[in-house]
């Protein structure tokens, strides 16, 4: 008669840590980007269709809500990319030490927020300059 398998503690048992939160955020940003590709496809399809179709996409992306969505998409894209690089480093067997993994998690977060703000600052300057 085999003994029942031991149950591992579930997510809510642990005190949340930064690396744990980052793991969940990596998955959530991945899911966001999954549906975010609809925006990319919509943009490409509109550009290939007609000036009118493109104008309606531009209208949405230029609105407050549209910009909010695009800002979120930009951050999710960069965060998931930096998080993915972190995973690729782990795949080589490096970066698992307590200090290294904390440092990598902080670098990913600071990098994604910093790069997103930088990209949008450049973007708003470009749009502001041409209109």
């Amino acid at each position: 008669m085999p003994r029942p398998r031991p149950l591992s503690p579930h997510l809510q048992i642990y005190r949340p840590t930064l690396t744990m939160t980052m793991s969940i955020v990596h998955r959530i940003t991945g899911m966001g980007l999954y549906f975010g590709t609809l925006l990319v496809t919509w943009w490409l399809l509109a550009a290939s269709s007609s000036p009118n179709a493109y104008a309606s996409v531009e209208g949405f992306f230029g609105s407050f809500f549209g910009r909010l969505v695009l800002f979120g998409y930009t951050w999710a894209l960069i965060h998931h990319m930096l998080g993915g690089i972190r995973h690729l480093i782990w795949d080589t067997g490096h970066g698992f030490g307590p200090h290294e993994r904390e440092w990598l998690a902080r670098a990913t977060l600071v990098g994604s927020v910093g790069l997103t703000i930088l990209l949008w600052a450049i973007g708003l300057l470009v749009v502001g300059g041409s209109r």
């Binding site: 899911m31 590709t37 399809l45 470009v126």
Partner: protein
């Protein structure tokens, strides 16, 4: 799972070519392959979008249809949709345990990612060939 010792097959022989996805390590490898490809392709995509900010439809069509930009976009779409299909499959396999809902989710995942990929590819080719 059977307890150890009830079979003369080694653990490796039991999992080789099988595993939870019934297909070995193919997805694991392809997810890393597309992750590595996504890094330069996402940077390329961001640069392309940034260079088109504030441009009118005619200028956008001309840039998106130029060979280098179109090829980068095609590679971006193929790599990203492959990556996101596997990523979403992992999420479904983690959280959806009953057979029928899992099957429906996996089918929907494939339909969605293939539809997104083909729509975007169609738009890019249309922009390139100008039909």
């Amino acid at each position: 799972m059977k307890p150890e010792g009830s079979s003369i097959r080694t653990p490796l022989a039991r999992v080789r070519g099988l595993g939870a996805a019934h297909s070995g390590t193919g997805h694991f490898w392809r997810q890393r392959l597309t992750a590595v490809a996504n890094v330069p392709l996402v940077i390329g995509f961001v640069v392309i979008v940034a260079s088109l900010l504030g441009r009118n439809h005619a200028a956008v069509v001309q840039v998106l249809g130029s060979p280098f930009v179109a090829i980068v976009l095609l590679l971006f779409i193929i790599s990203v949709t492959t990556h996101m299909r596997i990523g979403m499959q992992v999420i479904i396999e983690d959280y959806v345990h009953d057979d029928i809902p899992k099957l429906v989710c996996l089918l929907a995942n494939t339909f969605f990612t293939v539809a997104v990929a083909l729509t975007a590819i169609y738009a890019i080719l249309k922009l390139s060939f100008g039909v």
